[in-house]
Symmetry: D2
Subunit: 452 residues, 4 copies
């Protein structure tokens, strides 16, 4: 229901039934050509096969209908392709799909799609990374309260919060780049994976076919060794977890009672059907909705890894849907994240105001650390905790309570206390930590992942 609300349409277009039939034809074309490359079949006839594959004469919907009966789309596709090639050259028809099995075509086509979809994702992540880099830098001085267990804890800067998001996002992106090159592997093994129907030159075909399709070459057939698909799925799940965290943070900061972030929006965005005053957070909602569905899909891919013998009865087929869903949903979440940050309003004044909500309690650790220099940490903790209680009960500022407590003023006078209660002085090494993340962001992706 209304799945297109949550999915990336560019990625969806890459994983339609039509698109997979296109990718399957790409495999069949490259297979004939690779076999010609190593002298297994005549070049001319390989070219014919490739031409027919590229000519758009195969009607996807017909294949899809026949697939229901056959149990997979490869069987009717190969039949159709063979017939079409045979119309021109009966001899060439016998070179169609030679030495391959259904799963070779479908797995390789899946890998071509995954690789293309991961590239779309990477582009979206590149834009998101750039936006977060700018925000982290720009808001290194925008003080706000840090929150732990949903309680105000002590000040941070908004730039520091963004840097934390960014650090995780960079890792997630790097993993996707890595699997985009190392885990998108050619499948080609024939009926039981032994390349038995390719004669002694089978390994040469394998190698050429990998090059032609720009998929990594496997050491051995992996019809029932599916770890790489779980690796890709898990990398998507890490990204989804990262985006989900950002979305939750944003939604919480957009709460009426917090109000530190506001989503940009034009007419019709975020309105309520009943309440004229409301502005609902749309992008975080859509991100949360999309990412919530990922862990279950990940579990399905993990369950599906268990494929018996040389080719499996059902678990292979069970992988297709969840992987496609994961790509479309994480893609949708990346799109929404880009939307969110492209116009996000940061209310620095409200951030500063919220720091004051506890009347100084959020500086308790800083006062305690300072006092501990003189009286030791246990004693200092005890004194400050009491002062905090008193401040809460009386509803006065912690600073005022402290200034009336001789066990404090003996060591710290007004002049010593005042600067402790400024948020700018409470940021610790936030700035240096931001810089470390920005340096990481500016590094070129590691060579291993360049191929992606």
């Amino acid at each position: 229901m209304f799945d297109q609300l949550f999915k990336d349409s560019e990625i969806e277009a890459l994983v339609t039934d039509e698109a997979i039939i296109g990718a399957m034809l790409r495999f069949e074309a490259a297979l004939a050509q690779a076999q010609a490359d190593v002298g297994l079949i005549p070049a001319e006839q390989a070219s014919l096969v490739a031409r027919v594959c590229g000519a758009g004469r195969i009607e996807p919907q017909k294949i899809i209908t026949l697939a229901k009966k056959a149990g997979n789309p490869a069987i009717p596709l190969v039949k159709e392709l063979t017939a079409l090639v045979g119309e021109t050259d009966g001899e060439a028809a016998r070179y169609v799909h030679a030495g391959a099995t259904s799963q070779d075509v479908i797995d390789s086509a899946t890998m071509l799609q995954l690789k293309a979809a991961l590239l779309v994702l990477d582009n979206g992540l590149g834009r998101l990374q750039d936006r977060l880099v700018a925000l982290a830098d720009e808001h290194r001085g925008t003080v706000m309260i840090g929150r732990t267990l949903l309680q105000q804890a002590r000040p941070i800067s908004f730039g520091f919060k963004v840097a934390g998001w960014l650090d995780q996002l960079i890792r997630c992106r790097q993993r996707l780049r890595r699997v985009g090159s190392s885990a998108t592997v050619l499948q080609f093994g024939g009926a039981v994976g032994t390349l038995a129907a390719n004669g002694p030159r089978g390994l040469a075909v394998l190698s050429r076919l990998s090059e032609r399709l720009e998929l990594a070459e496997p050491v051995i057939t992996w019809h029932t060794a599916r770890d790489r698909l779980l690796e890709i799925a898990a990398s998507l799940a890490m990204l989804a977890g990262c985006l989900h965290k950002i979305a939750i943070d944003a939604a919480l900061l957009m709460q009426t009672e917090v109000g530190e972030l506001v989503e940009a929006g034009d007419e019709g965005k975020g309105g309520s059907s009943a309440m004229p005053h409301k502005r609902n957070p749309i992008a975080p909602t859509m991100m949360i909705a999309a990412c919530t569905r990922i862990p279950g899909l990940l579990a399905t891919v993990a369950v599906s890894m268990v494929q018996e013998h040389e080719r499996a009865v059902g678990h292979w087929h069970a992988e297709w849907g969840p992987l496609t869903e994961m790509l479309c949903l994480t893609g949708g979440a990346v799109q929404q994240a880009n939307d969110l940050f492209s116009g996000l309003k940061i209310d620095a004044a409200r951030m500063r105001e919220n720091i004051e909500a506890t009347r100084g309690l959020v500086y308790a650790e800083d006062v305690s650390l300072r006092l501990a220099r003189y009286v030791g940490k246990p004693e200092s903790d005890r004194v400050i905790k009491l002062a905090c209680e008193r401040a809460k009960q009386k509803g006065v500022h912690l600073r005022e309570v402290l200034l009336q407590d001789p066990s404090v003023t003996k060591w710290l006078d007004q002049n010593a206390l005042a600067p402790i209660f400024l948020p700018e002085n409470a940021l610790g090494l936030a700035d240096e930590l931001i810089n470390r993340v920005l340096r990481l962001a500016s590094q070129r992706p590691d060579p291993e992942t360049k191929r992606a």
Copy 2:
């Protein structure tokens, strides 16, 4: 990818975006009429709203496009509907969607769809139940080997195996009928669930609206109390687990080395793209593929239950997709199961032959029990275990080994031993247990579930 291979097309048609828009319009029509029923709005204008809802003038694709921006389809739908009603009667326009919130419309529409889809499922299950009843009865004398931990254990009948499937299926069907009536509940509460915008007659509207839509009436608004959706999802998952078990049993019995069941098929079904001799099991494969995806979706529905405050930021939206998937996939598995059993060939000769594969070892328990009458169970177990070892080593029939063992022949001679080695004598109470299940199957569904 190729999801239509695994899904029930009749159910899919019930849960499209178009169908949900239809169900939403049904809600809006019934709402206006219910409000007229209790005197809240004029009957004539309620009729106009209902007429416009039913007139097919709203273009689903337009609503879908606008939904992306609004975050849900209710907002643009209400806007469009209001405009259309307003074209005829400006006064009537203000009664459109009165007192309702987006989630009221969408949740109720979802419930209408769920109820309709559960009915389709129930019909398919009815056919399947009838087929299994016939098989269990027909094959109560068809002896086969029972298997535990994938080892031959001792004889059963094929009818007994089917009765075991049937017993579970009946329970799963009953649960779906029960949730089809008790868990498909109207949603109607307004912005925060208090029916605040309906005036004092809100509860009367609630009641009439339930009746008009034939959905159960809730005690209180359940915008963020989603247990019923998990209950429905879990009932689907139990059915899927039941069908998955049947599919695995069938696929294992279809193994070349077992060959006790063969799937019926015409040309093009189950062929291999590489191996001309092969006939792959199609229905079990498709059933396994569909059912494998259910537990992950179930987990997602469970995660989505956690919806904060009065209406949730994302988890509500996350439910839609998984629930729809679960309906379509279990529906597809029911369809495939009906296909499987409509033409299944049972090879009774092969079943009998396989019982003999161990040369009598599968009767070891029976011999041991008989011997125990004379020598006690521990001693009997010891003697028979040894005899089994000897039979295995020498490759001779257990009966022959026993006949040469004085510690056996002292108590049991050839005449006593021979009938123990007939499968018909080893079935225990299989027949009575089948009868118990057939009696259960013949009971009318309990009254509680009639409404479903």
Copy 3:
């Protein structure tokens, strides 16, 4: 790691290895007695078996160690029990475990444990229900803001919020009671489920054994028909989802910026290791931690349902852990919920204060509805939306903006507007809805579930 933080210790005690060995012995005792009841074995010797089972002479740890080799604990237990009985009466030894298989013992013992654990859970839920009933009633007039998509929406009462929790909790409790009686079923079928080793009186044994163990009698052996375990697991997951929702609501209401709820606590509870001022919400944290683990476990139980042939190779064993975890974790969450509500402080003043945070915007729907009586809903929505924007921009109260807007004041003067801005007048039918839930809570559990 630190699992006991999250688990109910009373339930944990019920599901230890020792406890399951106790339950297995209870089965073996009842089996011998049931067989004596129907005249299958001598009463005296049945009594001996029962006496040895109850005598505590079997050392659990020894069984556990041997189980590792045997693959399950039933085999060494039966061996040990047989030996012990044999010490007294060699004849009686042969009646130990007669006609049963390992899975009969373990499944029935599991069911005994589940039933006992569900009873502990029900007691905890009874206390929780009582507490929520009192809170809903007591706080029906405690106004607070309702929140949707984490934005302030319009007023509700705290009692109304609690009633929503309660309604769901009652349903979850009823489901657990229902499965506690209908799904806790005896297992007794022998090696392949045919009761072959019990002679013609097998069904009578089945029946007597059910009565003796107070477990429901199955229609047919269910060694590989595991839907009931998923049904129990799903019922636990619904409860967990319900408690998780309550915990999230509580944690959000405890936010520093919201401050409407405060967890009671003594010294040492909720303190921070670094920040002396902090009071972390402990019960909600523990509840969330426990409940977050449930959906994944539920998925595992669903996956494990797929058990091939007459007894399964691995999936049966895979059920034990997750079911136990689910019981202990939901039990822990119930305990924490009881802790939470036993001392929860409700800050009614802060609740009222927060309603005013938007300067009247949360009454926008009410004003709009009132104005719509004169100008129609679309026009009214337009006017009020504009007024809301103006109020936000200028930072003044919505009431003031409206009083300066002639398109409003033409229909509504100060006297008409003032009462709309009182939260008490904005609660709609909250009170009636609370009453409906309280009536539901006061009903006795339905007869079907009395046995639980």
Copy 4:
């Protein structure tokens, strides 16, 4: 229930509550020393702290009890440690846990445990890899039938099957080594991650502490950026999927009707409580049971990634259990796999015999490919498919059918046909593919992973 049946006891010992308290003390010791290293606190007093940490004076059970109230074990541990240090030197007490927060200690301790457990796992995997290398090499000539969709397809060798397992296992092991070094990262950030309580030398402390604990140094605090934990969990899940596949293959090959593998076992292993002749497969059962539980746990770790703000309310706590379970269960599966392969009996005769079960049908593809050289693939497929049908119907060997079919014998006579029906000639490039895997296995682990 009986969880120790499925878990690795060496890993379990590493992740007990006691062990985590040990690891937490290791962190506190190293923290004081690192702070001394950079001149933040006196070396002598740092030594005292380290000494007390190592002295075993802290009673784990006491900490565990207090943890329940505090919500985590760090708070009581620090209190206790501070008190013990204070007994000797009041001044030193204030340096305990300085600048750290609870989550710093617990996360770092968790990472120390994960790293240690991954090492145990790697050792077990090393032994398993060696065993599989030997089997693949030894059995490269042991012909058996390859099976697809549970149907006999065409011959492979047992060595080839093992090489497929091995290839996947090597990748899974490499991933675990990689995450063992790159994803086991120090946590140290203080209350909100800004290192605010460590003064300007905080980054130097971070760096020294990483070195001392041999954990990777993070770029920025990752209190709520949990991707690495999901990465570790996913790597475990890939391994589990790999082992599960091996176990299923083994269990299927051990079926009575297949009988190609037999598990070694001594007295008491794999016996049945009811059937004296049975030998159940123990190691595959235990492996399946353990691995079936992994995907659900993986989903939980994925869900738990979503941690709001600077430290999370519940999802952090939810990670501990599942990660620990995953380690113990995959460890148990590795142990069982080593058991399985240490004494596995391969019945080469039965393997060869099973190839003949279809009377030559499994050579259909080979005959078809040969015939296609003369008549083209479509015609050849047609002819051979017909011959297969005839062979099945008449129950005669495919070779005999072919020898009586002029459309075959026109091109292929007895001499040409005979060698096609030898399994040794049907293995394709199985041998070369085995060699590729063995070369991979002989490579030293890549430098990146050496640190692990």
